[in-house]
């Protein structure tokens, strides 16, 4: 399918999913009509709901968080796959997810009363801000560590990157488990830690959604400056350089944007894996492999995938719906295995 009709199709599909999502939530005291009225009221286009305007607004914020997270993670994956010329690259592989998890968990521990007294006093009351910023720092630190260790002679080695990613992810997972076991007897802290690990799109603050969308806008703004260049990377970095591509700048911009968008998404919504792996890959199969099409399309297809899955399981399972991180792992894990098996021949050379 050509990129333009696909973009129109995805836009319509996303609009439909978002409208339908206004009708589902953790409570059914408001339905679709009230949800739409409440959303329009936020834009000043309708009268606010008498009793449940706040509830409708929570749904709108949840939907905005879902769209932003889906877009940011898909964009991150597409950028990384382009830079590393490898369909298996994803934000979790470069340590962003586990780094964010570690940062956020440390912050939750501090806020939960396990940190030094002055930190607790300053952090309490600013929960979402502190946790989000800590996650962002953790994500950036891990991404920096992995890419630095995988760089030799000014070039990033992909096999090295994957191996270093495994090691750093394992260290972060170990530390995360240590924090969780340390806080196990404290129900509230444990609850906060676990809900963050499984990913959470509900109850996000407007600060978090604002940060998410600002980050997404900034990282998406690199698309015009790296898309064609990543297409030229397909024949090798040296070849692209010969055509006039400033490969160092493109790699820096793309990895920075990929790390930042994934870090912001994970810092706001917790660990939601595999969107960054699956969405760009499926887009490449459905339409062209050109990054000039894939990167913008990720901004639509990521939200369609995440919001669509959320809508589906909330409609089918109601209160028993799973956390988004769990759903994505259940869908993405088998897909990853499928990719590995399909690419078995190419991977044998490693």
């Amino acid at each position: 399918m050509a990129a333009r009709p696909l973009a129109i199709f995805l836009s319509l599909l996303l609009a439909g999913i978002l409208i339908a999502s206004l009708g589902v939530g953790s409570t059914d005291v408001i339905g679709l009509a009230e949800g739409i009225q409440g959303a329009l009221a936020m834009l000043g286009l309708a009268e606010p709901l008498e009793q449940y305007q706040a509830l409708a607004e929570l749904r709108v914020i949840r939907i905005l968080a879902t769209v932003g997270v889906g877009a940011a993670l898909a964009l991150s994956g597409a950028l990384l796959q382009g830079v590393f010329r490898n369909d298996l690259a994803s934000p979790s592989i470069i340590g962003v997810s586990s780094g964010a998890g570690l940062g956020a968990s440390l912050a939750i521990l501090v806020i939960g009363g396990y940190g030094p007294r002055f930190m607790i006093e300053n952090a309490v009351g600013m929960g979402p801000v502190v946790v989000t910023l800590a996650a962002l720092i953790g994500a950036a630190a891990c991404a920096w560590l992995v890419t630095t260790l995988a760089t030799s002679g000014g070039r990033i080695s992909v096999p090295m990157l994957l191996l270093v990613g495994i090691a750093v992810n394992a260290i972060a997972a170990g530390l995360l488990a240590a924090i969780q076991s340390y806080a196990l007897r404290d129900y509230d802290v444990s609850q906060a830690l676990f809900s963050w690990v499984f990913g959470r799109l509900e109850d996000r603050s407007s600060f978090q959604v604002g940060l998410l969308w600002t980050g997404l806008a900034l990282t998406a703004s690199v698309i015009p400056f790296v898309a064609l260049e990543l297409d030229l990377f397909a024949t090798g970095e040296e070849d692209a350089q010969g055509l006039g591509v400033n490969t160092g700048r493109v790699k820096f911009l793309a990895i920075l944007a990929a790390s930042a968008s994934a870090a912001i998404a994970v810092s706001v919504a917790g660990q939601i894996s595999f969107i960054g792996l699956v969405v760009p890959h499926v887009l490449r199969r459905v339409t062209t492999a050109s990054h000039r099409a894939i990167l913008p399309l990720c901004l639509l297809a990521g939200p369609v995938f995440l919001a669509g899955t959320e809508l589906l399981q909330r409609s089918l399972l109601g209160d028993a719906h799973l956390q988004p991180g769990v759903t994505m792992s259940l869908l993405g894990g088998p897909f990853f295995l499928f990719l590995l098996v399909r690419n078995r021949k190419e991977l044998r050379a490693w």
């Binding site: 002679g153 297409d231 397909a234 024949t235 040296e238 070849d239 010969g242 055509l243 006039g244």
Partner: protein, 263 residues
């Protein structure tokens, strides 16, 4: 020197490896075709990359029209020097025409939009490299020889003053070998500076204004075909595996032919 591509005492070693280029100096004037010959591992392709500004040399200097190659902004460099690699790391799933359009990267505007002049340049390049009829085919579907001509077309689309070509005829049949060298000769006559790395000593003899013989990372002889293609120059470098001859005409005296021959 203005209007020339020069390297002076260039040295280069790959990270952690031995020195591949070891004090190589060469000057290629705009409007001339120079063939770089030499045994495998002599450092020819590495020097070509260094001359194209792809490598940061350990010592020495590479200049184009008097300016250091590495100091040129990357897109300006691509408009000045076009490299034709022998192979690509991977074959992208694109048509020949889109691939050749990649050669226009250095000419695109800030929003990276291709204008009609870019598409026009691509069509001209496709025709010149005799791949116009392949323009809608996928690159992956082509034979090695066809792909080599497409690589030349992409370099032509760059409209650069200097062309650096790495073994352009290694996968071509004799007709296309002659065609490619005839094209490169014509480009040189039109004012381009052309450097060709080749193992085909006879094509080099036929078309080059100068032949530069490289051995162990440096040039051991640079001169006209007649000056370089002779036993006392080639034998110490390659071993005594050649027979030499020349046609009985005026050009034959200047451009000898060489046959590899088991002794």
């Amino acid at each position: 020197m203005v209007n020339s591509l020069r390297c002076e005492a260039v040295e280069y070693a790959y990270p952690g490896g031995e020195r591949v280029v070891d004090g190589a100096s060469l000057s290629v004037a705009a409007g001339s075709l120079t063939c770089v010959i030499g045994p495998n591992g002599a450092g020819k392709s590495t020097l070509l990359k260094a001359m194209g500004g792809l490598l940061s040399v350990d010592s020495g200097v590479v200049t184009v029209d008097g300016e250091a190659v590495r100091a040129l902004e990357s897109r300006v460099r691509a408009r000045t020097l076009a490299l034709v690699p022998q192979f690509l790391d991977a074959i992208p799933a694109v048509t020949v025409e889109s691939f050749v359009l990649g050669g226009r990267y250095g000419h695109l505007d800030g929003w990276r939009r291709a204008r009609s002049a870019d598409h026009q340049a691509v069509l001209v390049a496709l025709r010149e490299a005799h791949v116009f009829e392949l323009r809608e085919r996928l690159l992956a579907e082509l034979s090695g020889g066809q792909r080599q001509r497409v690589l030349i077309a992409r370099a032509l689309a760059q409209e650069a003053r200097y062309l650096l070509v790495d073994e352009p005829t290694s996968s071509l049949d004799p007709e296309h070998q002659l065609g490619v060298f005839a094209l490169l000769s014509r480009l040189a006559q039109e004012g381009h500076g052309v450097v060709v790395v080749t193992h085909d000593l006879n094509l080099a003899s036929q078309h080059a204004a100068e032949i530069a013989l490289m051995h162990s990372g440096r040039f051991v002889a640079v001169g006209t075909p007649k000056d370089v293609l002779k036993p006392e120059v080639l034998d110490p470098v390659y071993g005594a595996h050649f027979r030499f001859g020349k046609w009985d005409d005026e050009e034959g005296a200047e451009r000898p032919f060489v046959l590899p021959w088991s002794s």
